[in-house]
Symmetry: D2
Subunit: 289 residues, 4 copies
């Protein structure tokens, strides 16, 4: 979803020929919202999300980057273009979700949905030191890839009831944190049902449909469960991307495992079409220029 | 809701004649849930809530206190029986809600509902250093009392649209935190609508009705608003009560302002009846033995 | 130490005639340090501290403000020039120290030194909901003013041993947090000695002298006390100043009580001279233009 | 340092024949200090540290465990006696240090000292998702083992100046967190020198000698660096041990790599003698019964 930037007038201390990456979220870091810490909501709700959202041109040879000083991240030589692309959206979103889950070393996590963000959350939970990671999806190739990214137990929700399984695995206690990586009501239900009292639910999925997202009242303890529900938009800025790149450089994570299909630039529409239908079990396409 | 304890076999280092207070929540502090920090859910969801919930006898001359070593709080001479009663449920719940709101010094807070817990949350928000406290209710005596506990602006929701008012007062930004102190769907809606991106919603109300509590999807940023929703049950234990009592001793708060009606012990049923109907604009009754 | 800004070419959305205030710390909010959260150390250690430190001109009719978009705070009509001045250094430093002390509602605090920053820390501890605030100084007018800002107990360290007093007041436990507002080795010693295990020490004083500041090993539990020692530089940026101004507007704090002496502009050197010697028990001078 | 418990009268819900492990720290979880969150300082500074400190008998066939309900951790069948021993002191101390370092995913860490606790901190930093881990020691076998536990860069402080190296590796910025795992003044100096403004220093070493531990004033920004210094004692309780055991069970860590020497029970004194002199490059001895 992010694209490697080429050249631009706002760039400072980046030289001709340098490779830089630009996040989908490009905050100004100066407005009231940014100074309050809500940089992804620069100027207003979702306001930091510009590229691939309200600004065109991410597939153009040149495109404009606002607040470039704060948002252009140099790509080290050791990192491929392909890997760098993942630091612009999928990786920071999934890893941020895992951080917000606030799981202690050795704690337990369940992740619902193993699309690109869910898989990155699995990698993030593993990186963050969760002691048991249970993931839920239905596609065999995603569940398999989840194991490669660090999942301990994979549950196919077409074969078993994931809530029951998770409660049994945790001996009736529930997990310390549950992550929603689909954007579905059903997954939110499961997150509330399977999180222990005092635990944390992190929503990373985009809930495109519906006027409301409903919390199951009993699982929420009728408002007294001490469960915390967080929601997250990808964090922006060059510093966060630098940390993502460091994790790639030092071999902690290889996000290119997400690439299941490769296309030429003139196949762009085909790639988008396959993504929207998740055709051929596509996880993430790579577009070559 | 809490009642002053008299004497008991489990008590240690409390002498005959001492006055002690017991919280509605009496955790063991040792089980898995307690060691995970979820002491109010000792042994399971809502499990720490014993007195006035699953254990009878709080109006008896003698009653059993589990884990008394951890749950009997000595009442200093300077604190009246009446004031001490409020440290057993209303005060710790409301103040804990205000703490979880995580508002920086000078930040903004809206509180929906000014019953006993809501009023204590107002006092808590003031104690915590909020710079602007907006409260919403419909009963004039509650709104008046809210001012006495520290509210800056009171909104009668039968006269104005509180969401619109709050957004106008905050110039379209929303408050840093919104607290739900009613247990109603409508108040939860308002909390989501009036909290800024990245802000915090704290639910303190008991949602007795309904299979679900619904989050308005747009205000929640379709799951990407970075808003955090917390839910809270009164924290238990003698140490927390000691802090509540200190606040009374040093004149930070006078919870006895909540007492609008006083009854003799033989009028107990009348008191409960009035509370369930909120008759005569009752806020909290005091039962004299 | 801060001064009201007049006009400047970098200003946006501030109109001719508006009053604005500028903090002593003016971060860019975009560099690596700023994006890591260390905005006061923009570009390097203490790097955000420009005005009154590395940039001249704060008493000139015009002066340059870097990153003005992020650092000019509009002063509301209801706030006097005098009060606004205090939002540029003393108030944000003292209040930030109180926030970092991380004291729960009803907790206990000791503050060593009641100069301008120490007094603002006292006000901050009161605003943050501490249940008992003990302050230490030797000047009677400072101790008296401390009471006005919220101190419960004042200790004159020339008359009593403050460490012994604090330990007796807290029945041998120590306070939840101790704040250093002098910049002296002796005060740091006292902070470590009087903080309970697991508590927090916040250093706000500038330790101008000495190659080292020494932690008393026993009080520090030989490195195992679980005590946390924080150090703090005034936080910058317009948002933080807006919160400070809100606290003044809504009557939470009146920083002008710090002003003990008033001077005309041509008495500037006299004012500085008195401050350096703390002559005539001066706490803070006001310079009138 | 911890020893496998056999049988005891206080044990509940542990059956004859079960293997249980007991932490060096056995808090009551009920006293004031415990309820304040300072469980390792149960009853007073270092008060939770009983076994191998103030209570004898950890090498006896039977020994007394206070507050056994909260402190006996069942050892799963999949975990060896040897591995379980490490969950009683070395592993929880080192991992807790890494948690308190509060490093974001991809952040940078330096660890001074690679004895048993330092090595476990290295493993902890890796588990917690640090993107770059630099360790400092002089013994080749320790530096080699550090790599096995996850260090990226090892520095022999007899060959290079570690502070200079760390500043160069981080391009003059310093690391996000530095951990002291020796208990020496020199290592504390290095921690302060190499941590970026706003970063965190965690002391895990026992500073047996000296009346003071001295902070280098310039590196501490003369008290304005926004650096946080934490100190840590091993956390106790069965829940924390359960998380340690989970990390072993799911293959995240193998603490038995720490065992360099094995002894029979009748060689106990020899083992202690070698440890005190670190003879034969011993890291940790295993005593077989």
């Amino acid at each position: 979803m992010g694209v490697v930037y080429r050249r631009g007038s706002e760039v400072r201390s980046v030289n001709e020929g340098d490779r830089v990456a630009v996040n989908a979220i490009t905050p100004c870091f100066r407005c009231a919202a940014c100074q309050q810490g809500a940089t992804s909501h620069c100027g207003g709700l979702l306001g930091g999300w510009k590229l691939s959202h309200v600004k065109d041109g991410v597939f153009a040879e040149y495109f404009h980057v606002n607040d470039a000083e704060a948002n252009l991240a140099l790509v080290p030589d050791s990192i491929s273009d392909e890997a760098a692309c993942y630091t612009t959206d999928m990786m920071p979103t999934g890893l941020r979700g895992a951080e917000l889950a606030d799981v202690p070393l050795g704690g337990t996590v369940a992740i619902f949905g193993q699309g690109p963000v869910g898989l990155m959350a699995t990698a993030g939970a593993r990186l963050r030191g969760a002691g048991l990671i249970i993931v839920v999806d239905k596609r065999p190739n995603r569940l398999e890839l989840a194991k490669a990214f660090g999942a301990d137990i994979t549950l196919d929700f077409t074969a078993v009831d994931p809530d029951e399984e998770i409660m049994e695995i945790t001996r009736g206690v529930g997990v310390d944190a549950a992550l929603e990586a689909i954007g579905s009501q059903m997954a939110m239900d499961s997150c509330l049902q399977t999180t222990r009292p005092g635990g944390t639910i992190v929503n990373m999925g985009i809930h495109s449909d519906g006027d409301t997202i409903d919390l199951p009242n009993d699982a929420w303890g009728r408002g007294m469960s001490d469960k915390t529900i967080r929601s997250v938009l990808c964090p922006g800025g060059k510093e966060n991307m630098k940390r993502m790149m460091r994790l790639i450089e030092t071999g902690r994570i290889d996000p290119t495992k997400l690439t299941t299909h490769t296309f030429r630039f003139d196949q762009l529409e085909k790639a988008f079409g396959m993504m929207s239908k998740k055709a051929d079990n596509i996880i993430k396409p790579l577009i070559l220029f």
